[in-house]
């Protein structure tokens, strides 16, 4: 800053106001940190400390009573001998696949509901209902519907003639995971429908009118207009889907209990088993750490997929 510019009134005004801003910012800093303190403390304890302790715990043997002894990598090496871990990991990944399936289904329903016809608001609510329904309740409801002899699903399939012998939905290790998959898709689709509908409403109608003049077919409109314009919305669905996937603990723990055998075990239910059935917190912490990595990875892949062009 030279002599000349200091003499002009504009500069002085700038300096004065920036001083005022400075003191305002200092004042704000005190207020903001005070207002944020409770939440920051909570995050520090229940997120960061928990995460840190989780990692520390993987190197210790910690009994239910709280005695700790350092065991090095022993907990990690247990992964190799754990016969259920591959199943739990596989099922976790399989059930993450409910996200794209649910989104595809929701895309179809949302485009349908986006047309103006009587009752479309009511339909929207019907699809949304499973999403706000408690997972434990869903597990109880579907458990009976999947019942081999008395279940309404087998009954209907038999009546229609799609099957000729009853399927043991929850008793067969192959069908059990299919059942869980279907229930999760049923629960989450309505949520995606709502989000995609909100996304569809942000697309200006003129875009479609112009493309109609150019002679685009409905499929071309969907493929080259709707889908690319919905990209951010679908990305949001993907990320939220990861969060919803954790509610699966409730479903599996109540509906199948991880069985039959350990065929529907996921990482979360297996961690819970380690804690309360075997009291092995160290190994549970190993599984938790893997779960954190898996989650961040899926979220990252979701973000990446969003950036890939259609």
């Amino acid at each position: 800053m030279n002599e000349e510019s200091l003499k002009s009134p504009g500069t002085w005004r700038r300096i004065v106001t920036s001083d005022a801003d400075l003191s305002k910012k200092q004042r704000n800093t005190v207020i903001a940190w005070a207002a944020l303190a409770p939440v920051l403390l909570w995050l520090l304890v229940f997120k960061y400390l928990a995460l840190g302790w989780n990692i520390v715990l993987t190197f210790f043997d910690r009994s239910y009573t709280g005695e700790m002894s350092f065991v090095g990598l022993e907990n990690w090496s247990m992964l190799m001998q754990d016969p259920v871990f591959p199943t739990a990991l596989r099922n976790t990944i399989i059930l993450f696949a409910t996200i794209p399936v649910g989104i595809a289904l929701a895309l179809f329903i949302a485009i349908l509901l986006n047309q103006k016809f009587p009752g479309s608001k009511v339909f929207r609510s019907v699809f949304f209902l499973p999403y706000i329904t408690m997972m434990v309740a869903i597990a109880v409801i579907w458990q009976y519907m999947f019942h081999t002899e008395q279940g309404v699903i087998n009954q209907m399939l038999l009546n229609v003639g799609l099957i000729d012998t009853q399927i043991s939905w929850l008793g067969d290790s192959g069908w059990a995971i299919v059942s869980v998959f279907m229930v999760q898709v049923w629960k989450t689709t309505g949520f995606y429908v709502i989000i995609i509908l909100a996304g569809l409403q942000t697309i200006p109608q003129q875009v479609y009118e112009v493309s109609r003049i150019d002679g685009a077919s409905r499929w071309q409109q969907f493929r080259y207009l709707t889908l690319p314009l919905l990209k951010p919305t679908l990305g949001v669905c993907m990320l939220v889907g990861v969060v919803i996937s954790f509610r699966l603990f409730d479903l599996i723990n109540v509906m199948t209990g991880g069985g039959p055998g350990n065929s529907t075990e996921i990482l979360l239910t297996w961690i819970y088993q380690q804690m309360f059935a075997y009291g092995d917190f160290g190994y549970g912490a190993v599984l938790s750490t893997i779960m954190v990595v898996a989650t961040v990875l899926v979220a990252y892949i979701g973000l990446k997929l969003q950036q890939v062009s259609y």
């Binding site: 910012k25 704000n28 800093t29 207020i31 903001a32 940190w33 005070a34 207002a35 944020l36 409770p38 939440v39 920051l40 909570w42 229940f46 997120k47 400390l49 928990a50 995460l51 302790w53 989780n54 715990l57 349908l112 047309q115 016809f117 009587p118 339909f123 609510s125 019907v126 699809f127 209902l129 999403y131 706000i132 329904t133 408690m134 997972m135 434990v136 309740a137 869903i138 109880v140 409801i141 009976y144 519907m145 002899e149 008395q150 309404v152 049923w186 309505g190 949520f191 709502i194 969060v243 954790f246 723990n253 109540v254 804690m275 912490a285 938790s288 779960m291 989650t295 961040v296 979220a299």
Partner: protein
């Protein structure tokens, strides 16, 4: 016919009328088709709820054994609800659920508002605080519930309402929803309040709050539903009837009652009722909450 140009010939008029009617016939047909497809999908989606009511009304519940019941409701009976009410400490469980959810909702309203208020200002270290919050959001509670449980036990909060509510006392999503609502409040209003000598707390609760009703209702709905439906955490924390919440009671009831599905379904309806009633009364707000919360993640 007033809409049609008075200089138009009769032929023109006829042509216009013909076009309008044929178009509306087409859309009507199209609308009918869309309606039918949507109806089929909706019926499939709603069926489990229909079945819930259908089975809960079966009495005597022993009649469920053997053949599968018919699809039509013909014998609705409320007796299963009465039996559930007397079979378990239902009032105690409901009270527990209500108290825990109330603590969660109030705590979220206060602490998330405060945090959002802080974040809506510009201050030293804001960048780091935002980073701190966003990174924490990427680690879901379910992946670290093991050590959260150990911490809570260390704090001596097992079998307490505080212990049950503590993990649902703060939610990053709600902070972000409230933050953007607060940022939309015009600066001039806040400045005016400051000139009148308003305190910081008055600005938050007296200026920001009345202007952010949509975001606040989102916070209330999300935190209530989340806390009311929560299962994993109560499963760890509540080991006695005095703190058992409804989802946990429902899961336990399911294993106690074994094959009696009429009773289980009746209890399920009793547990779901508060949220379902709220949903039917406030559908618009529920759906808006879902949209708002997801747009912030």
């Amino acid at each position: 016919m007033s809409g049609i140009n008075e200089f138009a010939t009769i032929d023109d008029t006829r042509r216009v009328v013909r076009r309008i009617t044929s178009e509306s016939k087409l859309t009507l047909l199209r609308k009918g088709g869309l309606f039918t497809v949507a109806l089929i999908a909706a019926v499939l989606f709603a069926f489990p709820f229909y079945w819930l009511i259908r089975i809960a009304g079966v009495w005597p519940s022993g009649s469920l054994y053997g053949s599968a019941p018919s699809l039509i409701i013909s014998d609705l009976n409320l007796y299963n609800f009465v039996r559930v009410y007397y079979a378990i400490p239902f009032v105690q469980y409901t009270t527990n659920s209500v108290i825990v959810s109330a603590i969660a909702v109030v705590s979220q309203l206060i602490f998330c508002s405060l945090a959002a208020y802080g974040l809506s200002m510009s201050f030293y270290g804001k960048k780091y605080v935002m980073g701190f919050i966003v990174v924490a959001m990427m680690v879901p509670f379910q992946t670290i519930f093991l050590t959260d449980y150990l911490i809570t036990r260390q704090l001596g909060l097992i079998n307490t309402y505080t212990g049950l509510a503590i993990v649902v006392a703060v939610s990053v999503v709600n902070i972000l929803v409230l933050k953007s609502a607060f940022e939309a409040v015009p600066d001039s209003m806040v400045d005016a309040a400051r000139l009148d000598g308003a305190s910081e707390l008055y600005i938050l609760f007296g200026v920001y709050w009345p202007l952010s009703k949509a975001a606040l209702s989102t916070t209330v709905i999300l935190s209530f539903v989340f806390s009311w439906n929560s299962y994993l955490w109560p499963l760890l924390i509540a080991t006695e009837d005095s703190t058992t919440t409804l989802p946990l009671a429902l899961a336990t009831f399911q294993s106690q009652m074994g094959g009696n599905f009429a009773l289980q379904y009746a209890f399920t309806i009793m547990v779901l009722l508060p949220v379902l009633v709220l949903f039917f009364l406030l559908q618009k707000y529920f759906i808006r909450s879902a949209v708002m919360s997801s747009l912030k993640t």
